[in-house]
């Protein structure tokens, strides 16, 4: 891609817009924010993510000026702002409760800050109209806040906080009160508005999906400290602690002891690119082949229409069903025999003799007696001998009826299957009682139907799919 990636945090010459330097906040003898340092850059969409009570709102209120800080410095554009009162800061906040003025119309709510700035009437008119258009609220300008719906109130609150064109906009759980569908739509709207206005956004949320969707970077917080600051994909793929791995999304955790991998294992041939692709998505191919075969089998079995049928279709059904070629076809599920046949045809296609080469180096994690250790080629050898936790996402764990050719493979039994529409999660109990989640994309309607409750199965994952975390 020709477009340069937006990543000012990797550029040492860039000056941060916001800088927290060893900031602490104490309420009496309770420490809400503990010696926290953080930088946020211009035009960023920065998310503060953490469980309720971890200090996210306190961070916002310190930025807006509603809480004095107990120690450290907050800098905006290089200027210390700890002593600047809220009405003198180029920062606006969208409140968790929206805090719309109930006695003023939507129009007056949005104009409020501009009037306080002493702008002339023409400017205010134009700016308020622009904000109303931006948030698609023009029709409701004359209404009072209690005469519009929750989602509309949220948009008015956004318009009001953007009207003064602040350098920094703070959003405290802005979408908490919206239902799921509206929330998702609004997330994209927020991103769009952020891009259009070029304002730096700091958003607070306890919803990890929301943070992943909107943010350029995420700070994961725990009890007044920042555990990790990174881009959403790094937070997800390379969490730096068990806390982050567990907080973001679903995860399988194996705690054990690390040992460096023996040298003779490292002598395996160099991994190839094709191998990596195979390592991350083998089951898709298999599943796909399964279904394609099954579909052709069922297609041959479909009855063809007779003359009467053709006539009925031309005269009547075509009008509202559309052309037959494009009409969606519903296939009956294949019989178990067909599935077995498809699998049998597919099986020899896999070269049984060429065992996959496993990337050399890394560590082994001894996690249970009587179970082979987990091979983690990406593990840091420096942790050898220490207690570690091996973390792997369910979607990186495959599930098969027979032992797969995978660096890590364990036998178990299907205890539960959660069908979530687009994906299915299998809960597999290993021989030593450990529960492992494996996720399958339901790319085809029939994928993996053959695995069911109480089945003896194998789970597997590649040597680089997981992350080794120090305890």
């Amino acid at each position: 891609m020709a477009q340069t990636v937006f990543a000012p945090w990797t550029d040492p010459v860039q000056k941060p817009l916001i800088e927290f330097r060893n900031v602490s906040k104490r309420f009496g003898d309770f420490t809400a924010i503990d010696n926290l340092s953080l930088t946020i850059y211009e035009k960023e969409f920065f998310a503060l993510l953490g469980p309720s009570g971890c200090g996210k709102t306190t961070m916002m209120r310190m930025l807006a000026g509603f809480e004095t800080i107990s120690g450290g410095h907050i800098l905006l554009d290089g200027q210390e702002i700890s002593a600047v009162p809220p009405n003198k800061r180029p920062v606006n906040m969208m409140f968790q409760s929206y805090a719309l003025f109930p006695h003023l119309s939507i129009w007056d709510n949005i104009a409020f800050g501009l009037k306080r700035e002493g702008r002339d009437a023409a400017f205010i008119d134009e700016r308020v109209d622009e904000m109303l258009r931006l948030t698609r609220m023009s029709r409701f300008a004359r209404r009072k806040p209690h005469q519009i719906s929750g989602g509309q109130r949220q948009r008015v609150a956004l318009a009001r906080s953007l009207a003064k064109a602040p350098k920094l906009l703070l959003l405290d759980e802005p979408l908490g009160a919206l239902d799921r569908k509206l929330r998702e739509e609004t997330q994209f709207e927020l991103m769009d508005i952020q891009e259009k206005t070029g304002t730096t956004f700091v958003i607070v949320t306890h919803d990890q999906e929301e943070a992943m969707t909107v943010a350029s970077r995420i700070a994961v917080m725990d009890e007044g400290r920042i555990v990790q600051v990174d881009t959403p994909d790094q937070i997800y793929e390379a969490p730096n602690s068990v806390y982050v791995a567990d907080f973001i999304g679903d995860v399988n955790l194996f705690s054990g002891t690390a040992t460096a991998r023996p040298v003779d294992m490292a002598a395996a041939p160099e991994p190839t690119v094709a191998l990596d692709a195979e390592a991350t998505a083998p089951r898709h191919d298999a599943a796909l082949r399964d279904t394609v075969e099954a579909n052709t089998a069922t297609a041959q079995r479909l009855p063809a229409p007779d003359r009467k049928g053709d006539w009925l279709y031309d005269k009547l059904f075509r009008r509202f069903m559309g052309s037959r070629e494009t009409a969606p076809r519903r296939l009956p599920p294949p019989s178990p025999a067909e599935v077995a046949a498809a699998r049998a045809r597919e099986a020899p296609a896999r070269p049984a003799d060429s065992a996959p080469a496993i990337k050399p180096g890394g560590i082994l994690v001894d996690w249970a007696d009587g179970q082979p250790p987990i091979i983690a080629a990406n593990g840091d050898t420096a942790v050898a001998g220490e207690k570690v936790t091996f973390s792997i996402r369910p979607e990186k764990v495959t599930i098969d009826a027979e032992q797969p050719d995978r660096p890590n493979a364990y036998k178990g039994k299907v205890i539960d299957i959660a069908y979530l529409g687009n994906i299915s999660t299998f809960h597999v109990e290993l021989a030593n009682g450990t529960m492992v989640k494996a996720q399958m994309v339901n790319a085809r309607r029939l994928a993996n139907r053959h695995i069911t409750w109480e089945d003896e199965v194998w789970i597997g994952f590649s040597e680089t799919a997981g992350v080794v975390l120090k305890d």
Binding site: A64, G65, F66, P85, P86, N87, V91, N92, M93, F95, Q96, S97, A99, L100, F101, P102, H103, F112, G113, R116, E117, K144, H146, Q147, I148, S149, R160, S161, K164
Partner: protein
């Protein structure tokens, strides 16, 4: 609707009779043709006419009005400030003591309030007249205002004020532009309450008044000692009217704001 039992109906009418029979009698006799209070001689409004020709009564009415307006306005300002500080200032040293002291005059015997004020005015050498009554009335009605206003402020969303600050208001501008308009119904009903209290007061006014300032209750009280006249009945009827209107307006103001909000919200829900 559930029907009243015989017992309920009796106790209800007894209670209301106890409360309102004396006043009804007073109102009825204010329209009596006869000069004799206890003898009904036909309907007439002549005592009202006579009342308005009596210079002394008119003077007293004027004094009462002045005292009422000034003292209730002063009490509203002070009471609102006190309520604002007590609700907003959070926990400061001696907060409980302060809020307790604000409410103490509510239960203090009027005689004691009156007497202590009288001693104070004599002590500082203030001539007793309209000014001293205004001050005295402000003192005791201020706590009523602060009770009414602070109960509204406790349910007031603090983040509204913070939003105003965030949008560039000074603390005072935030109060004037956001807080005050929203709590206005409570402040107005506080004013009306203070005004009716001032209109009613006999004891404290008698302690703190001088020869130049006679309020209506004092006037009525001294006139009655010479014998009840239909004129007094007419005057009292007028007072009852004013007080009733004041109290009803005060409660309607507070209620209507809430009702209007609920109705609008329901409308918004139906429209959505």
């Amino acid at each position: 609707m559930k029907r009243f039992s015989w017992f309920n109906a009796t106790s209800l009418s007894l209670g209301f009779a106890f409360l309102y029979l004396p006043m009804i009698l007073l109102v009825v006799y204010s329209f009596n043709e006869s000069r004799l209070v206890t003898v009904w001689a036909g309907f007439s409004t002549k005592w009202y006419g006579e009342l308005f020709r009596d210079q002394e009564f008119l003077d007293a009415a004027w004094v009462t009005l002045k005292v009422g307006v000034f003292s209730s306005t002063l009490a509203t300002v002070l009471g609102t400030m006190a309520a604002y500080v007590l609700v907003r200032a959070g926990r400061f040293h001696g907060r409980t003591l302060f809020s307790g002291m604000i409410y103490a005059p509510l239960v203090m015997p009027e005689v004691i309030t009156g007497l202590s004020l009288l001693l104070l005015f004599i002590g500082i050498g203030l001539d007793r007249g309209v000014l001293t009554i205004v001050l005295a009335h402000t003192t005791f009605s201020m706590c009523y205002v602060s009770v009414v206003v602070s109960s509204r402020l406790t349910s007031f969303d603090r983040s509204l004020e913070e939003a105003a600050l965030d949008l560039g208001c000074s603390a005072f501008a935030a109060f004037r532009l956001v807080t005050l308009p929203i709590i206005a119904p409570a402040v107005i009903s506080g004013w009306l309450l203070a005004f009716t209290l001032s209109l009613d007061d006999l004891v404290i006014a008698s302690f703190t008044t001088g020869p130049s300032a006679t309020t209506l209750p004092i006037k009525i009280f001294s006139a009655v000692r010479l014998g009840v006249s239909p004129q007094i009945n007419a005057l009292s009827t007028l007072l009852i009217g004013i007080v009733t209107i004041g109290v009803i307006t005060a409660s309607v103001l507070t209620k209507r704001a809430a009702v209007a909000q609920v109705r609008d919200e329901q409308k918004a829900v139906r429209a959505a």
